[in-house]
């Protein structure tokens, strides 16, 4: 993708998110001066970003929004519930256009019409005379500067940042010196001082204490760094990135850039390499054991060397993991807009609040979280939140409340999507599951309420009487669970009739390497992911009680079904005096799997199943062992299901 466009997509979404946050603050208090100011700056900059691509319909709409916020800055009475809603609609439209830009690199054909219609919502601000009087369209000044500094730009041979800083006329009275500000721009390559109105005043009309200059410049630093130099004057500066005119661009030459944007695939390659290193180190332990037989001192030295290498590798691993850590926030940016759109199609009113979005997780986890969250959100709006009339009848406020919160707990994060809707009815779910032939009536009746709720995760389940446009898209909750489990996460439901439903998704923060427990079953070694293991226990064989056709045991005052892993793997179970059990959770319920022995715990890179393994049931992947062997890693919940 064109780098300029890529930058636009990133920044555009950041600005939409910022303005969205400010507008939701304004929805609560339309006189919040800090929010007005912040929204104004975000919209202003957003307009400039669209300006770089000369997208007139978007610029016009944002200009109208900017105008309204500018008036609100001077007169706090301008905004009320209606105008804030119009601004939100304008921002949502902008966000859709950003999506269009990403898809096709252009605005859709109806952009003109949509812009005119949306601008009309911001009516008082959109006086055409004012819009036309804007002194300089960003794209024009960028073009003029590129012509003026063509030589320097060609020499630079790398992307540059151009800025246009228009101090207000009174700035000298506040003791400001715009020249000092502009000089402080890092990597300043050129600076030009131009008359504000296009012509310098003559000696007679010159007003010496009024600033009538605009400063334009060129910098080798990043957009963020240049922006930082103008942090005190954010609304007086316009920025744009320009690409080198000369074709040759020295790769890897970061011209004074303090930050580096790296293709995620390269990081993945680095992570793979590190994984192989960890595997290679795993070979040292058996080597030390072998050396032990002939020379104890040599074995000790090998172990010391191993510990040293492991220490350094662990540090490297932590550093790499930190590089891959990204805040959840960018992934969630589109959710508030989608919530509004979905609620609108359903004729419902809803507010979505998000908290804890600053938590950082591995990129893979962040990327994989959007789809399941969106699906849960759709479900909450469609099946959870009641219609305004039903809510009124139930004594609830007409606007439904959905909250999405994130909490970090050691190596795990929990995402909770909670609605204050009708809640889930275990009885109806049992009935629906039986009606769809997913299980027998007596089996359904035997399920605990919590287990009955879990039935919604079965493929082919849907309790909605009619398939709605919103959530009836052929992807059920089974897809949500599959997506979460792919990230090695678990999902839980917690629902109370008439009070609402909460879905808790528990996910690992790091996804790079997996802690595996090696178990022995029928003479073979298998890996199980430690985050799927609730506990490992050793019980006397007599403690296993026959229940129906199977076995169970009592763990912590709870009867837990016991399955023989060997049987699940079609192998011959070995009977001993003691039973070694790995307890996991399948569909929210504990299940114990019997193994022959627990072996070591290892840190390794899980390779997704490929080829024949991909279709094998109960396999998450494979891991390469230090001795070159391959360990099959089992998916305990799936095997136990």
């Amino acid at each position: 993708m064109d780098e300029l466009l890529e930058q636009f997509l990133i920044e555009g979404r950041e600005l939409v998110a910022q303005a969205g946050k400010d507008l939701s603050a304004l929805a609560r208090d339309p006189r919040d001066a800090a929010a007005i100011d912040s929204a104004f700056r975000a919209i202003h900059t957003l307009k400039g970003s669209f300006g770089v691509f000369a997208l007139a319909p978007a610029e016009r709409l944002l200009h109208a929004a900017e105008d309204m916020l500018d008036r609100a800055r001077r007169d706090a009475g301008v905004l009320d519930g209606g105008t804030v809603a119009a601004l939100v609609a304008c921002l949502d439209q902008t966000d859709r256009w950003i999506d269009d830009m990403e898809r096709s690199g252009a605005l859709p054909d109806d952009a003109e019409r949509v812009s005119t219609a949306s601008t009309a919502l911001l009516k008082p601000a959109a006086s055409p005379a004012k819009a036309g009087a804007e002194p300089s369209r960003p794209a024009e000044w960028v073009e003029a500067l590129k012509t003026r500094e063509a030589d320097l730009i060609a020499q630079a041979g790398a992307a540059l940042v151009v800025f246009r800083y228009a101090p207000d006329a009174e700035c000298f009275f506040r003791g400001e010196d715009p020249l000092v500000v502009a000089e402080a721009v890092p990597g300043l390559l050129a600076l030009a001082v131009l008359p504000t109105g296009g012509d310098w005043p003559g000696a007679e009309e010159l007003e010496p204490f009024s600033c009538f200059s605009v400063l334009e410049g060129l910098s080798t630093s990043s957009l963020e760094e240049v922006q930082a130099a103008f942090r005190m004057q954010p609304d007086q500066v316009q920025l744009a990135r320009i690409e080198p005119t000369a074709a040759e661009k020295a790769p890897g030459e970061a011209r004074g850039d303090a930050t580096l944007r790296v293709d995620a695939a390269r990081l993945d390659a680095l992570a793979d390499g590190l994984g192989d290193l960890i595997v290679a180190i795993n070979a040292l332990a058996p080597l030390a054991a072998e050396a032990q037989q002939v020379d104890r001192a040599l074995a000790a030295r090998i172990r010391a060397a191993q510990a040293g290498i492991e220490g350094v590798t662990a540090k490297l691993h932590r550093n790499l993991a930190a590089v891959r850590m990204v805040p959840l926030e960018p992934v969630l940016r589109r959710l508030p807009r989608m919530a509004r759109e979905i609620a609108e199609t359903l004729g419902k009113r809803v507010s979505l609040s998000i908290s804890g979005e600053g938590i950082e997780v591995d990129k893979q986890v962040a990327d994989g979280l959007f789809e399941p969250l969106l699906h849960l959100l759709r479900n909450a709006l469609d099946h959870g939140i009641e219609s305004p009339d039903d809510r009124a009848a139930a004594g609830k406020p007409p606007e439904g409340a959905v909250s999405l919160s994130f909490r970090r707990d050691g190596d795990r994060i929990t995402a909770t999507l909670r609605d204050d809707g009708a809640g889930m009815d275990p009885g109806r779910i049992r009935q629906a599951a039986v009606a769809r032939g997913l299980l027998a009536a007596d089996a359904a009746a035997a399920l605990s309420e919590a287990a009955a709720l879990q039935l919604i995760f079965l493929p082919g389940f849907s309790t909605a009487g009619t398939v709605t446009e919103v959530s009836g898209r052929g992807v059920g909750m089974d897809a949500v669970r599959a997506a979460v489990e792919k990230l090695r996460g678990t999902i839980e439901i917690d629902s109370a009739r008439a009070q609402g439903t909460a879905f808790h998704i528990h996910l690992p923060v790091n996804a790079l390497t997996t802690r595996l427990l090696v178990v022995e079953v029928a003479g073979e070694r298998y890996g199980v992911a430690l985050d799927q293991v609730v506990e490992t226990v050793r019980v006397d064989r007599a403690a296993l009680l026959p229940v129906g056709t199977g076995l169970a045991c009592v763990l912590r005052d709870r009867t837990v079904p016991v399955l023989d892993l060997a049987e699940l793997l079609d192998a011959q179970a070995v009977q001993g005096d003691h039973a070694k059990l790995v307890v996991t959770r399948s569909r929210g319920e504990p299940v114990a799997l019997r193994v022959d022995a627990f072996a070591e715990r290892i840190d390794t890179v899980l390779r997704p199943p490929g080829g024949l393994l991909a279709s094998a049931r109960g396999v998450i992947g494979s891991a390469l062992m230090g001795d070159g062997g391959v360990l099959l890693v089992l998916d305990l919940p799936e095997l136990a299901a």
């Binding site: 003026r148 320097l152 101090p167 000298f172 010196d177 715009p178 020249l179 000092v180 502009a182 000089e183 300043l188 390559l189 050129a190 600076l191 030009a192 001082v193 131009l194 008359p195 296009g198 012509d199 310098w200 005043p201 003559g202 000696a203 010159l206 010496p208 204490f209 600033c211 009538f212 200059s213």
Partner: protein
């Protein structure tokens, strides 16, 4: 006093604050066409610089201040054409 007028030459010296803009304007109005010697100026405030750019008096020397280093501004202020 950082703005001095002597023998038809206006001299800017040291750090020229915003207040010097008015002194400079008055001096240039009183002596149209006078050369402005900026070689001894360590720092020009934006207010002073924009007077020089607007009125374009002949300049003597190049100020020491950072904005005039290398390519920056020096080109604009020394070559007579107005960059607009």
């Amino acid at each position: 006093m950082t703005v001095r007028v002597q023998d038809g030459i206006v001299t800017l010296e040291g750090r020229c604050p915003a207040a010097d803009a008015e002194s400079l304007l008055v001096a240039l109005q009183a002596h149209p066409g006078a050369t402005v010697d900026v070689a001894g100026a360590k720092r020009l405030h934006m207010a002073v610089l924009q007077v020089l750019l607007a009125l374009r008096p002949p300049l003597g020397g190049i100020p020491e201040c950072p904005a005039f280093a290398a390519n920056i501004l020096a080109r604009q202020i020394s070559n007579g054409d107005k960059a607009t």
